[in-house]
């Protein structure tokens, strides 16, 4: 009985850690840009698949596409009439370094197939940059629109990214090796090292995000934008830049969870959506704005999933998604809608 309990606990916590990265991505993006990002799960897929292809030594097509997109926007930025000569050179230098970074990591990963951390780097660089591209292409032009419009836009983005994943990588699942093979046995309970890596890296990433938003100027600017967009703009915070940054962080975090999860379930173009939705259920507990409550939410979702799969496997997803209703009722009770800023 105790074995069962510890097995289920470990399982629930591992899944919770994955959903946790997703929930944080959703919150970062929602608070700064007011986008309820349905496409969030697709960054999981893209992260896992570009990681798999980088590992196998083929040049990641996504990196090439992203670099081309960045170059297009760089041209537009440099051509901006309001910029002085020195500002232009600065913009050009920053953008070139960025594009070079994305391409260099992808190239390095394809030159040294099988080098794990290079592949991680290439995948994260490509996916995080794709986040900023998505923001500039789809959110910036309608940044003043109502949350519903932004939600529908994100549904469109989901469809495009989903299709792109099939086009680039095909429909066959790819198996991905774990960071370290094997695992430890605690008595009868077997824990794969990959599960420990997932939990460890998730905690590190969350800690990193906390330190970033509390200790750095950029992080505080991000927080300020999240609290009050107009106010932040009046204080001289470049709100657009904050939006790009939030999308980069969100996409990067989701990609990280994808490439950590891939060794356990294979990387395939269809893996993202259910993970994204479960991250959403967890984030809903914190109203997609509160980080600590969302973290309680992810553990709740992970453990509920694990235990309900053990008890009544036919209904486990039903139970997890049904949790949204009591969560919303509870949110409504403790924090009536008037208190929200919409």
């Amino acid at each position: 009985m105790l074995d069962t309990l510890s097995f289920l606990l470990i399982d629930g916590i591992t899944n919770g850690a994955v959903y946790g990265l997703l929930a944080l991505s959703l919150i970062v993006i929602y608070t700064v840009t007011r986008v309820v990002n349905i496409a969030q799960g697709e960054y999981v897929t893209l992260g896992a698949l570009s990681f798999a292809s980088a590992l196998s030594g083929s040049f990641n097509l996504l990196s090439g596409l992203v670099a081309a997109g960045l170059a297009a926007f760089a041209l537009r930025d440099v051509a901006d009439k309001h910029l002085g000569a020195s500002a232009r050179i600065r913009v050009l230098l920053i953008r070139s370094a960025w594009i070079a970074g994305v391409l260099a990591t992808a190239f390095a990963a394809s030159r040294f197939p099988g080098s794990y951390w290079l592949a991680v780097l290439a995948s994260l660089a490509a996916t995080a940059s794709l986040g900023t591209l998505t923001y500039r292409l789809t959110v910036e032009p309608v940044s003043g629109a109502s949350p519903v419009v932004l939600l529908i836009v994100s549904v469109g983005v989901y469809m495009v990214l989903h299709g792109a994943a099939v086009l680039i990588w095909g429909a066959e699942p790819r198996s991905v090796p774990p960071v370290v093979e094997g695992g430890v046995s605690l008595g009868p309970v077997f824990i794969a090292y990959q599960s420990l890596w997932i939990c460890g890296i998730a905690v590190l990433a969350m800690g990193g995000l906390y330190a970033f938003s509390e200790r750095t100027l950029m992080g505080q600017a991000l927080q300020a934008t999240a609290v009050n967009r107009v106010g932040a703009q009046l204080c001289g915070i470049p709100v657009r830049l904050a939006g790009q940054l939030s999308f980069a962080i969100g996409a990067g975090f989701s990609a990280l969870s994808g490439l950590l999860l891939a060794p356990l379930i294979t990387a395939n173009y269809d893996m993202g959506l259910p993970i994204g939705l479960k991250g959403f259920v967890a984030a809903a507990l914190g109203g997609i704005v509160e980080y600590p409550t969302a973290l309680i939410g992810v553990m709740l979702v992970g453990l509920t999933e694990s235990f309900s799969a053990f008890q009544v496997s036919a209904f486990r997803d039903v139970i997890v998604f049904l949790m949204v209703i009591p969560i919303l009722l509870w949110r409504n009770a403790v924090r009536p809608p008037e208190a929200h800023e919409h």
Partner: protein, 404 residues
């Protein structure tokens, strides 16, 4: 004067030459297009979506069929293949079937890869009175034949496969089994058959656990099965979830034998599972073990020919059971069209030809396909018997035939 005559002659001969060339080039083609009737087969395959691992080889076989048969000029008719991808989505399968019936004026619909999609288009094909040949495994697709007069299928049924698997279990002293399978129509169909066959065989069916194709976690269910004290576990799923379920059982410390249904009888199962699925016992079709079956098996020559064609195009050792599903479906359609009574008279009568093809399908006798020997009648729309099932074990990353 003479100049004018010469010019006129040149002009006349030029005219004659051009018209002769026109007749020579265009004439016979136009004539043959009118003379030879066209057999239009619409193949709707799940190239993308959750069942893409099965759909990809099926699409390959359709393309191979198209390449060979569209180019043939020795036939009294021409073959036209129309290819669609339903994305493993039943709704899309229905609309594509409608499109094939209405716009493409197909004579036969080869659809679909999955059981849910196949079930979804049943009413559409029945209403249009057009022959449908499914590539999905569930017996409910063609049963009862009285209700589904236009529906046929190529994969052997779960029932035949389970009868062989459970008889084998029984002989090896297994008395208590559990089910671990998908929670969709494919998995539920397998579960229902398993319960029936287990009762017939005298094996105790103890517990059932389910998962979804996109699940990220299989441990809790595996744990529960392990604790049920079973002699063997039967997994009814398709890769990659079949692999993940198998790995989860091993991870929680289950050491008994693990059996798989025909959904796992595909090369992707070994490619994804690698060493983790070593020792799995899988119900397979003849194609998985075509180089190992007895020499006197009637399927031998058919299998060898298809394997040679397929491997020749897509790479050595690539041929698998699912490529055979669409291949058999296409060839059964052609066979029925050839055997159709008063075939030539039906040329312009689309509805009549469709019904005639269905009638000819029901007269298929001892027809060797890669799935087995087909004997289709008006009451049995599958037409396969136990000659279509084999058991194999994964050894060294290969399907190795179990001699019984």
């Amino acid at each position: 004067m003479s100049k004018t005559v010469t010019r006129a002659r040149i002009a006349a001969s030029l005219c004659a030459f051009i018209s002769a060339a026109a007749v020579g080039l265009v004439g016979p083609q136009a004539a043959s297009a009118q003379e030879k009737p066209e057999l239009r087969i619409a193949a709707i395959v799940s190239v993308t979506g959750a069942a893409s691992a099965l759909g990809a080889p099926e699409r390959n076989a359709v393309a191979l069929f198209d390449k060979i048969w569209s180019a043939r000029t020795d036939l009294p008719f021409r073959v036209k293949v129309i290819s669609y991808d339903d994305g493993s989505d039943p709704t899309k399968a229905v609309s594509l079937t409608r499109k094939a019936i209405e716009e493409d004026k197909a004579h036969v619909v080869v659809c679909c890869t999955t059981t849910p999609s196949s079930m979804a288009i049943l009413d559409t094909v029945k209403a249009a009175k057009i022959t449908m040949i499914s590539m999905a495994s569930n017996a409910a697709i063609v049963e009862p034949a009285a209700d589904r007069p236009f529906t046929f299928k190529t994969p052997t049924s779960d029932k035949l496969m389970l009868q062989r698997t459970l008889n084998y279990m029984k002989r090896h002293g297994i008395n208590k089994i559990g089910f671990f399978g998908l929670e969709d129509a494919y998995g539920e169909g397998g579960l229902k058959e398993l319960q029936t066959v287990a009762k017939e065989t005298g094996i105790d069916f103890a517990s059932a656990e389910r998962f979804a194709r996109q699940d990220t976690n299989f441990t809790p269910q595996a744990l529960r099965l392990k604790q049920a004290g079973l002699d063997a576990i039967y997994i009814h799923a398709i890769p990659p979830s079949a692999d993940l379920a198998h790995e989860a059982l091993k991870r929680v410390g289950y050491t008994g034998p693990i059996y798989h249904g025909a959904g796992s009888s595909i090369n992707a199962f070994v490619d994804i599972g690698k060493a983790n699925v070593e020792g799995a016992i899988i119900g397979v079709g003849a194609l998985n073990v075509y180089d190992q079956i007895a020499k006197d098996n009637p399927l031998g020559p058919v299998l060898a020919k298809f394997a040679e064609l397929y491997d020749g195009t897509y790479g050595k050792g690539k041929v698998d059971l699912f490529a055979g599903q669409s291949w058999d479906a296409m060839l059964l359609a052609v066979n029925a069209y050839q055997n159709m009574s008063e075939g030539a008279a039906m040329r312009d009568d689309l509805a009549g030809t469709r019904v005639a093809i269905k009638d000819a399908m029901e007269k298929t006798r001892e027809w060797p396909g890669v799935n087995g020997v087909f004997n289709i009648t008006s009451s049995d729309h599958l037409g396969l018997d136990k000659r279509s099932t084999f058991l194999s074990q994964i050894k060294g990353g290969r399907f190795v035939l179990i001699e019984e």
